[in-house]
């Protein structure tokens, strides 16, 4: 299913609006929270703990992250559904202090991202195939 996301550049950061509806993370233009597009983050989705408490997530285990200084840190990892318009997909979600969309998220969408500094808008078009049936998405 085709996906189109539109966000804004705020404080020199491309940000996509999001909100939580029915214990699911929804990215659409009605959202009042924001996820930052972070090209330095190879993961998928990172969210703050306060959001995590409101979402239906399933704990998957521990994964490691390498930071810029070479330090390896462990983060609890969850799987959860993310709604993108009419389509939904199962994504890995790590709980950190920030709300980020990393490169794996956009790779999964086979996304084309345009950052337009004249209009201060960021747009993303892509496709999402929910290829992983899961109880978290009401398909299993």
């Amino acid at each position: 299913m085709k996906i189109q996301l539109v966000g804004r550049i705020v404080d020199a950061e491309p940000r996509f609006p999001s909100r939580i509806v029915g214990r699911r993370l929804l990215l659409d233009d009605r959202g009042r929270d924001q996820l930052i597009l972070d090209s330095g983050f190879t993961g998928s989705v990172a969210i703050p703990e306060e959001w995590a408490n409101r979402l239906e997530l399933r704990y998957a285990g521990i994964q490691t992250f390498e930071l810029a200084n070479g330090q390896i840190v462990e983060f609890p990892t969850y799987l959860g559904a993310v709604q993108l318009g009419q389509a939904a997909g199962l994504f890995e979600i790590v709980v950190t202090a920030e709300a980020l969309l990393g490169m794996e998220f956009f790779e999964r969408l086979k996304a084309r991202i345009v950052i337009d500094w004249r209009t201060k808008k960021v747009s993303c078009t892509g496709n999402l195939r929910p290829k992983f049936p899961s109880p978290l998405m009401g398909e299993g």
Partner: protein
């Protein structure tokens, strides 16, 4: 440097408190993964810590779902074969 080390220690402590004790893969499992390196480099390995069984996927979601097919109630330790960590974050990742 000392402060960073103690921050990492705090994270591990908090993680343990939240999710139960963090068990890390044994040397035997890590040696097995090293043997797989040339063939499966870049794949994510979900290691089920009780059985030490390994489930491979192109990402964490795929590896986890394969693991849950056999062990629906278990959790995993994730490793990316041939890399020091599953993911990287330039600029640091703040603790919650």
């Amino acid at each position: 440097m000392k402060a960073k080390k103690s921050a990492a220690k705090r994270l591990v402590t908090r993680t343990q408190r939240l999710e139960g004790a963090v068990r890390r893969p044994s040397r035997r499992v890590l040696a097995r993964l090293k043997e797989w390196d040339p063939r499966y480099k870049g794949q994510v390995a979900a290691i089920e810590m009780e059985s030490e069984e390994i489930f491979l996927g192109k990402d964490v979601v795929e590896a986890t779902l394969k693991g849950w097919e056999k062990y629906p109630d278990r959790t995993f330790y994730f490793v990316r074969i041939g890399y020091p960590a599953v993911h990287s974050r330039r600029g640091g990742l703040r603790k919650r």
